[in-house]
Amino acid sequence: MMVSSLFSVIGSGIAMGLGSIGSAVGEGMIAMSAVESLGRQPKASAKLLRIMIIAQAVTETAAIFALVISLLLLFQAGTDSLFKGITYLSAGIAIGLGTIGAGLGAGLPGASAMKGIGKQPRNSDVLTVHMIIGQAVTQTSTIFALTVSLILIMLAPTGGLLKMAACLGAGFAMGFGAVGPGIGDGLVARFANLGVARDPRNMGLLTRTMIIGQAITETTDIYAMVVSLILIFVI
């Protein structure tokens, strides 16, 4: 009993500890750009503050997912099955690593929107809409990680060595697999936002290209999810 509980507590710590890295850095980037823009356009301070808070709230989503899983794992600490302990640890790894990319990624378009508003405050409405679309697509990678974590938590408590290794592998596949696409989606949205800030008339074209670019970037994330689902359900 002690060993299985230990695994779920470690999983909870990994989920929240790693899960806060991305969002924290991303929100810091947004605030950094907002402060820089304030120095350039002190008159737009109310607008900048409002949009900074919206951008940071969206960036926070990833960390909130990690918090939810972390708390769920803490409540499961009384488990007496070693297999369940391992699946809880895997769920923690999946969501902990899986939020790093989306947190950083959501910070990048937020920061570029702040920069754009600092250059031209009257574009703020268009930029906010575009920023939120970009950030929402960036969150997909975390949502995949959340799905895999929840599946791992809900798994039936039976399985041998093979199944344990497969679940741990699924956690690593989804966790690491979400890092790159999260950051990549953020990069696409960042430069699209800079384009909108330069000339808001191109917004339609840029949104289209941004979504195509983000969809292709997301493919490796989907491979990672497929591999983790195979590891969970087929093995």
């Binding site: 670019g213 970037t217 195979i230």
Partner: protein
């Protein structure tokens, strides 16, 4: 406690390795494709008339960046089903 044979241990480690292969293998292509897509958006922001050409080049560039991700997927599937 049941006895674990060497063959089972190899299979278990192969499954863990499949997860690591796909997970770590997806980091690079993800970031690389993000750079391609980002710079394509930046170029379209600067020259909207060339959007078609830029989108075409972006998709080719991303497809090539994707290849290492596909290698990782193939290796992961081999580790799961063949080893």
């Amino acid at each position: 406690m049941e006895v674990i044979t060497g063959e089972q241990l190899i299979k278990a480690l192969a499954l863990l390795a499949a997860g690591l292969s796909m997970g770590l293998g997806a980091v690079g292509p993800g970031i690389g494709e993000g750079f391609v897509g980002g710079k394509a958006c930046e170029s379209i922001g600067r020259r909207p008339d060339e959007a078609n050409l830029i989108t075409k080049t972006m998709i080719i560039g991303q497809a090539i960046s994707e290849t290492t991700g596909i290698y990782a997927l193939v290796v992961a599937l081999i580790l799961i089903f063949v080893v």
